[in-house]
Amino acid sequence: MEDLGWWGVALAVLAGAIRVSTPFLFVSLGELLTEKSGRINLGLEGTLVMGAMSAYAISYMTGSPWLGVLVAGLAGALFGVLHALICGLPRVNDIAVGIALMLLGTGLAFFLGKAFIQPQAPILPAIEFGWWSDLPQVRSALQINVLFILGVLLAPFLLWVLTNTKWGLIVRTVGDSADAARAMGYSVNLVRLAATASGGFLAGIGGSFLSLYYPGSWNEGLSSGQGLMAVALVIFARWQPIRCLGAALLFGGAGALGPALQSVGVTQGYYLFNAAPYLLTLVIMIATCSPTRTLTGAPGELSITK
């Protein structure tokens, strides 16, 4: 195989952006939808892990990874419903419930997933977009999973739904002012239930990508906080789906930097390179935030930015 040297690093970052970003993308789009309805669900880390486990388990038991993806989504939606129902009670703090569900989701996934650490389940196929290239590195980098493509399409779709449809308007109204929504005759709790369940569905699918495509295996160390980070990325992206896509790609690409640099011989300070995604996100936030204006796009009812 030809050695690409430093071009290889650039290629690896690009490939990493495609490979690693998908869970971030799905979870952050799901969280975005939930937050647009005025509620924050910090529990998507647990949903992600639960999705990863259930997808792998179903794929192993039925032989169909796509069925696994579906079940992961449903499991995620179930957690979303649970979150919405509890938070629908008066005086219950949504941030705290999210953290509790993060623990419950992770715990249940670990508990039920013990039997599936060992077996090998069928994983999702990839589409070869690199057929035009002679370089195996390029061909490998352009092996793209359908879920990534779906996620990329989902971002503009979600933007369109939120800005141009009646459903989107209802969600945004509920998120910006519950009183206004009530005055218009909408059930705030019902809308939030739908938004949180859909958000959970997406987060579950994000989890299925981890166990059924990349790295493509179920174990307890699978998520190193991707779900939590994805929630943070929503704030970073200022509640705008296209920016979520950008943030997910940036984060995925930065995560590939550490191993890629080592593979061309930059061997010092790999811990620091591994922290690159976090540092980069922080620096961009510091550069782009402003103390004088509130975050544009922030739903008015959101507890975390109120």
């Binding site: 030809e2 990493g16 090998q120 790295p215 307890e220 699978l222 593979s263």
Partner: protein
Amino acid sequence: MTVDQGMSRRMVLGALGGAAAGTALSGFLPLSRALAAKKLVVGFIYVGPRDDFGYNQAHAEAAAMLRSMSGVKVVEEEKVPETLDVQKTMESMINLDGAELVFPTSFGYFDPHMLKVAAKYPDVEFRHCGGMFKAGTHPANTGSYFGYIDEGQYLNGIAAGHATKSKKLGFVAAKPIPQVLRNINAFTLGARSVDPSITTQVIFTGDWSMPIKEAEATNGLVNAGVDVVTCHVDSPKVVVETAERRGAFTCGYHANQAPLAPKGYLTGAEWNWITVYKDFVTKAQAGEKPGQFVRGGLKEGFIKTSAYGPAVSPESKAAGEAVKAKMMAGDFSIFSGPISTNTGKEIVAAGKTYGQTDLWLEGMDWLVEGVVGSTS
């Protein structure tokens, strides 16, 4: 598990019944008394999940075998962090379960955790996996054991050296610590014994279980032209599966990963801990002190190698088997001079040989010539 307890209760009852019958037939009394004697409680502590296809599983498999020994009761706890948690787990095993022999199996359990608890419970024997026990310095009821798995890695290297076409091998490692560096060096020396132009590219992920980093590292290595990959992380599953998907060869580690890579699996270095544990338990049951500085390799049965995969050529097998036979006979040294480091320093002079038991090797902080990577 209630079933399990029920069974053990029944077994105890059976033994007591036997004792009663034995009293009647007074001639058999000593034997019956031995049967009725209380079981030796052995505690195992793992840092990760027991079924990780790797380090912890290798220990847990041996623990499962111990369960079938008579007069032994095994208690296990998994995912115990290397903090106060492990101290309390050991104490809890001693105080609440009556453990008399404790095996904390992760390196980080040794100092200060096991040493501290051992000083507090002088009647309990502690044997630690991987630690550097020093008689006189450390409590008298402690000890350590480890296996020379670098022998397996050297054989991995021979298989890799025959299989590689690009002459570039890859090694996904957790941290640059002596146990890991020794494996990287042995693997590279084995490969370079086949062809001295071979190099090994190392990628450190920074921790023992980081599935995404491990997958990224494997992809990065294959992209850089590597065509044989091996690793030293807690669970090699992700590395082996990723390499198989990329069409690269793999050498296994810790346990047998052949089922994960039916095409590309060459061979693997596996632990065989039951040899060690059985010996400790048998000694403890006989009232002797279990060994305090126990080391062994292929010859002693502490480690074993995976069966060769379909991609291994007959010449490769012959070369590997020849070295393995020498190791089994005890007349092969991996670290015999001249050996230079990858920074150009001669670390082992020509004619000088370090035998496996040499403690200098357990403090390794260098990488041999041919390894692309650094120790810090």
